[in-house]
Symmetry: C2
Subunit: 517 residues, 2 copies
């Protein structure tokens, strides 16, 4: 592990906050250093009870690894195998996960945008995997590579986002079998923040790693995290060949993977919050342990996708109280094992960017901040249960992340005495707006959201009664008009393009849809 | 103080949660017993630093009491007075606030709706004071007594609300000088939950107390809290004659008052979160102490109204990070003094019930739950910075309160072992929907919000693409069609009406607008 002290930019700071308020300053906020106390919803003995239950599941129910290579690996590691089911002894699990680094630093193309992860350090990463977008005119349609590039540009410019992720939307205008190459190139080209890598097949994951070797140097990435892969579990208790192969590509290359059980509470977990977390925890531990079988000491992140299921439609719900509780609990479990953890942010099930989307998103954001999550994925754009990414919501969510970033800095006592002397100066019945302390500190003391309209209704009507969706789309248009590409090194760019051309010549084009969340 | 053990209904419980899901069951949820750990954003020494700064303000800057009677009371209590400015020694403050009860139980007309307050016990109270409403057709207009009655009926029926409050909207069709009588009668008549009492003048407050004596008996209310008054401060550091006179009416009658500094961060407090809280804390302490000068041992609640001010419009903002931080801090201060505290919930500055309103409201709700607030006011309907109460938002906010109520119950481990055995039964790759444990527990394990649409877009479109505002208004119409008045005792009803008739004959009608927040 690199020392994060050396590379992490100073969290907070007046200039970073001021930057956010200027439409022409796109300075990324430093990684979140979260000073909100973690919400310890379980007692220590309840944490141990979840741990013990998960270990019982791993030992006695077992986990299916639908992958011959993984079964062979587990056999060599000393696990008991029956068919494709692996029974994992708690001693083995504990030994394996002990070598997962508690902290890491992502290295971005622009070193000023390196970000720390783990402990109290967290990052906001936009949503990915949407088969539809709501575009700059709020029209819902299938996305293209140009749409994906647009989201990568917005991710680059929005100060509250620390990553450009990968396939924020699915680019339908390119053959699916070759899509991962164009997606990765788009992430690399349009932003110099860190990004994610496709795990849609083991070979696709290898392509991502090869492209990272070109961009950062093969030697460099072998000892520095530069990209993140996500591997979803098939809950309950199954890991499939695609995900395990992709995991091997990332872990072998010493790149972090999110080990993400996929919980639809009540459908693929029990009708119990505590037991659902016990199952999810067993699943996450089995994958986290496998990363260390692949390469001891490789970074790995305790993941999950959490929803509860609507009895009416069978669809995943967002913003429900059990999702908040499960986030608090999973945070406790990840800290118990001393591994960084991933959550999902600003999820919405609304069909449009309406009040439902607002309630759902803010509830989730707040829960993950109090839960102390590290890799805060799906932080912008998610709506309609992930079926579309909304440009308008993307903009507003990113500002919400900046607001959470501010909250996470906690209470500033630096100028407490100076501010108190203003109380004496102003005295009973006075006002502060004219006081020098106010004039000097107003801009930085109180966050003013650009996407929230706080005018009177008369002012608002005089301005054309512009609703939040239109305000956000106007902001997106303005951002895009001011976008400046952070140019790739020309030699590396050429090498990346040559790699893509070579691989596209090798890979047969196909046209079916392939999604990963 | 009455023992709350005797009167508080069991928090949570399967039936209460199930009740919420049935459109025909209006059973009030028990008072919130909040198991979410309080968010201790300040260290112990920072809490002491705020306390010390507030005491310095009280001793050296002083507080203006614009009221001769209060000045005389303070003089008799041993405070130093200069003009209308009172300098309060920290020893005197600490002695006085020591007799404020840490816990109380509100007695409602229906004893099954008594609710505990203080410590971990909290209640949700709808918004009040709106000069406009957005009605059942989402039209923004001035309200009438019928509109107020409608909101009292909805408050009565919505399980997540524990109070019918008072002038949720300002009834413009009745003379202002007599309005408090009709408002109080409407609260009493249309709901048997606890309610609030008008403090628009000392005499109005006396009328409220007299009406409570009729409804509950004079002797009963002298030892049982039945109504809540709110007294706003004129920050910085001023309490006026109206508020102090009303405070005396309530405290003398042993009824709780909210002692509420009114913070517009940056305008009437310093441009510093910590110093703003120090000033607010000094203001709250001065009023809390005065309640004990009025009547030792009278219940009193640490209050505040919190906003930060938009530099663009000068308007109050909602849902900003500093408001969340201040809520966490004020919770710590109230616990430091061991007094119950009031906050404001689900505030919105949006002009319509749009995504902005959703983000703002959910952010605030989450903050106040983590802050451990007790008297959670403005919990339904607030939008446009309090300028209107929205029927649609009222319905959705009340469901949000029910969701927060569920979250506050924490994690249920009661059926953990039974739920875990389902994991073994189902095994890797199985599904839980058919398992007996799921079938028995699904309804209660996961909250399903009625106001959130979680259907697919195809289902949603087939149903007419109904947005959340219309869904909520439909729900309001259905509730009102099923409303059954909890009839007043006929003799008491007659006595209340006679009291109103007598007072209306005595009070000259006036027609100007009078608001209190």
């Amino acid at each position: 592990m690199l020392s994060q002290q050396k590379t992490r930019p100073r969290a907070g700071g007046r200039s970073a906050r001021r930057a956010l308020r200027s439409a022409s300053d796109f300075t990324m906020l430093a990684g979140v250093h979260n000073k909100i106390p973690t919400c310890e919803i379980m007692t220590g003995s309840q944490v141990e009870r979840i741990d013990a239950a998960s270990m019982d599941i791993l030992e006695n129910v077992g986990v299916v690894f639908r992958d011959d290579r993984a079964l062979a690996d587990w056999k060599a590691a000393g696990a008991k195998i029956e068919g494709d089911r692996v029974y994992l002894d708690r001693g083995l699990i504990r030994d394996l996960i002990a070598t997962i680094p508690a902290n890491l630093t992502y290295h971005a193309r622009d070193p000023a945008k390196n970000v720390a992860l783990g402990g109290r350090d967290a990052i906001f990463v936009p949503m990915t995997g949407a088969p539809y977008l709501r575009d700059l005119d709020d029209v819902r349609r299938n996305p293209t590579l140009d749409d994906l590039a647009m989201f990568h540009k917005l991710s680059h410019m929005l100060p509250g986002l620390h990553s450009s992720a990968h396939h924020i939307v699915e680019p339908y205008d390119h053959p699916i079998s070759q899509r991962h190459l164009r997606i990765t190139y788009s992430s690399m080209k349009h932003s110099d923040k860190t990004f994610m890598g496709m795990t849609t097949s083991p070979k696709n994951a290898e392509d991502v790693i090869d492209m990272c070797r070109i961009l950062f140097g093969a030697e460099f990435i072998d000892s520095h995290p530069v990209v993140t892969g996500n591997c979803n579990g098939n809950s309950p208790l199954v890991w499939d060949e695609t995900m395990l192969g992709a995991m091997r590509a990332f872990s072998r290359a010493n790149q972090p993977v999110l080990c993400s059980p996929f919980v639809l509470g009540g459908a693929n977990t029990p009708a119990s919050v505590a037991a659902s977390v016990a199952q999810l925890n067993a699943e996450a531990l089995s994958a986290l342990a496998y990363t260390q079988v692949i390469r001891k000491g490789a970074p790995a992140i305790y993941g999950h996708y959490l929803s509860t299921v609507s009895m009416k439609s069978g669809a995943p719900m967002a913003g429900t109280p059990e999702i908040s509780l499960m986030n608090f609990m999973i945070g406790q479990m990840a800290r118990f094992y001393d591994v960084p953890w991933r959550t999902s942010n600003t999820l919405g099930g609304a069909k449009t960017f309406d009040a439902q989307a607002g309630y759902e998103s803010a509830t989730t954001l707040s829960a993950v901040m109090h839960a102390g999550a590290n890799y805060i994925w799906h932080s912008a754009g998610w709506n309609e249960a992930g079926m579309h990414c909304s440009v308008a919501k993307f903009i507003v969510d990113a500002e919400q992340c900046a607001m959470a970033h501010r909250m996470a800095q906690g209470v500033n006592f630096d100028d407490f005495d100076a501010a108190l002397s203003a109380v004496g100066d102003v005295g009973p019945g006075g006002h502060y707006l004219g006081h020098p302390h106010t004039q000097e500190n107003f801009q930085t003391a109180y966050f003013m959201p650009e996407m929230f309209d706080n005018n009177s209704i008369e002012q608002w009507q005089a301005g054309g009664s512009v609703e939040i969706t239109e305000r956000a789309l106007n902001r997106a248009r303005k951002l895009l008009s001011e976008y400046q590409e952070p140019l790739l090194d020309p030699a590396k760019d050429e090498e990346l393009r040559a790699y893509i051309a070579k691989r596209e010549a090798e890979i047969p084009a196909a046209d079916e849809l392939n999604q990963s969340y």
